[in-house]
């Protein structure tokens, strides 16, 4: 048999209980505690009130005409992407990846520059060793060393 609870429930436990997301097995225990403890019950009621306020946040209606226009544009694009079968889909996916990379670069210019620099340094190292450029271009190794130290 479980011992009667001696401490109050935390606010997190009370919120989760309100949402029906409490740890399995404690639902009845919390419900019983709330009947006896005015303090926890007041906090529980406050969270109920708050969740009601949060869920009252409505989103502006979008007129049907706008949805229809959007659907027409989407279907045209979908048709275009699928016109070439999977090939079209692959090109679109590739363009999607490029678009995502571009967006990332715009949002994070410094890390992007660092990635590019590392890629260049790596490519230089591989190029120098593969083609033995240090024999043809005596300064190539030094340039690579400088780049490596900088980045």
């Amino acid at each position: 048999m479980r011992r009667p609870r001696t401490r109050h429930y935390t606010e997190e436990e009370l919120l989760l209980h309100f949402l029906g997301e409490e740890t399995p097995g404690v639902k009845a225990e919390i419900a019983a505690h709330l009947l006896e403890c005015g303090e926890c019950d007041a906090i529980f009621a406050e969270y109920g009130d708050l969740v009601g306020k949060i869920q009252a946040w409505a989103v502006p209606e979008v007129p049907d005409l706008i949805w229809q226009a959007q659907k027409t544009r989407l279907l045209a694009q979908y048709r275009q992407d699928y016109a070439g079968g999977r090939r079209g889909g692959m090109i679109s996916s590739f363009l999607g990846i490029l678009q995502s990379a571009w967006n990332y670069a715009l949002e994070n210019p410094l890390p992007t520059l660092a990635y590019i620099a590392v890629a260049i340094a790596f490519a230089l190292e591989r190029t120098i060793s593969t083609f033995r450029l240090d024999r043809i271009l005596p300064g190539a190794s030094e340039v690579f060393e400088i780049l490596r130290q900088v980045f």
């Binding site: 969740v51 699928y82 996916s93």
Partner: protein, 194 residues
């Protein structure tokens, strides 16, 4: 009467290139996607654009959806929330560099539907608390924002969100609590919650 196709059937047909299936999926999810996206971006025009982009992303990445890992709707809400957060970051950066744009545009967009006829005190109080909640959500860290919106407005269970975000249930519970606490503090400061 023809019974509506399941999400799984629609997805299979979209992958075959059936326009009608894509059209049905748009009808089924546009409001829910738009509501998630709007609450993150908080700009009516950008939310509509972003909703359209989510649907483009949807059919381009549809083959990534694994029915064994998540319900289709859960996967779609994640796609929408992540896309909206990307757009929100860009928008926030733009507003930081062009503050005049923010002050010019936001008040008109924040007006709730039918606002012009809301005059009683209760309606005003409700509008103020929604405005506070809106601001709080805008300032939440990304995971907290996602958990908050998906739990309170899309009725996703916390374990579904945990699976979707590939993090522990405890992390999701804590995120939801912290986000709710932030809103509670803000509403309390103005005496909005008993």
């Amino acid at each position: 009467m023809v019974s509506p196709q399941s999400d799984e059937d629609l997805v299979a047909n979209i992958l075959k290139g059936e326009e009608d299936a894509f059209s049905q999926l748009h009808d089924r999810y546009r409001h829910r996607i738009h509501s998630t996206v709007y609450r993150i971006i908080q700009d009516a025009a950008e939310a509509q654009d972003a909703t359209q982009e989510v649907f483009v992303k949807l059919y381009r990445s549809l083959s990534d959806w694994d029915a064994r890992k998540a319900r289709f709707s859960t996967w779609l809400y994640r796609l929408a929330a992540n896309h909206a957060i990307d757009r929100w970051r860009v928008r926030r950066r733009r507003l930081e560099t062009q503050p005049s744009e923010a002050s010019d545009r936001e008040p008109a967009q924040e007006r709730p539907v039918g606002d012009a006829i809301l005059t009683p005190y209760g309606a005003l109080e409700k509008k103020e608390s929604i405005e506070l909640i809106r601001r709080c959500v805008d300032d939440l860290p990304e995971l907290q924002k996602k958990v908050f919106l998906l739990r309170y407005f899309q009725d996703l269970k916390l374990d579904e969100i945990a699976d979707m975000e590939d993090c522990s249930l405890g992390t999701v519970k804590t995120s939801l609590f912290r986000a709710t606490q932030a809103v509670r503090r803000a509403v309390r400061r103005t005496g909005g919650v008993r």
